[in-house]
Symmetry: C2
Subunit: 121 residues, 2 copies
């Protein structure tokens, strides 16, 4: 039997909407989600879990209340649970997110940038 | 305050030994480990957890009892818990592994390829 890997570039080619994470794989109760980000997100946190960002293409800044981290392609950062953060990208950036199933992109903050959860692609 | 991302290429530059995963980050009780693989590993499984492989550079084949998956850079695969597998690389491949803290590289199979667990870099 021939199994097929998950090609990140191919998966990104299947959608164009921004700030709308798409699930591409699961590992136990965690999900791998890809997302296109551009501009400013909102301040939020995730009370119950860390959240991992891996930049696949482009540049991402994650603002914290006391600073920021700048990530390029091939770089990652784990935002600790409960830490307020705000992603920002001057130009569109392609990101792989890893977090437990059920995590909402805006945390408890809500608002119109809240994306549909568990959208597979 | 300025935070620093984790650069995969830089981290791979810090070691040269093969089949010896190095932890570079944690997310909750999961670990991100980078590893250089070349040649044949042993058949093993992980009874209690899925295991994620993301190829960073090179080509990886993962053999299963009923087939195989071929992964290139930018491709990933989640090996389900309990499924016997054997990684193989004709030439050295750089891989990012994601799995719960405490998972041993050879599963229950043991042997002289069993690597030190929880080795950070």
């Amino acid at each position: 039997m021939s199994y097929k890997g998950i090609n990140l570039r191919e998966k990104f080619g299947l959608f164009g909407d921004q700030w709308a994470p798409k699930v591409i794989a699961e590992m136990n109760d965690y999900q791998f989600k890809i997302v296109r980000l551009e501009g400013d997100f909102i301040w939020h946190d995730h009370k119950d879990t860390d959240e991992t960002f891996i930049v696949i293409e482009g540049e991402l800044r994650i603002d914290f209340r006391d600073g920021a981290v700048h990530l390029s392609a091939g770089e990652m950062f784990v935002v600790p649970r409960g830490v307020e953060h705000k992603p920002y990208a001057e130009n569109e950036v392609k990101v792989l997110l890893i977090e437990p199933r059920g995590v909402v992109n805006t945390g408890d903050a809500g608002g119109n940038l809240t994306a549909k959860n568990d959208a597979w692609i």
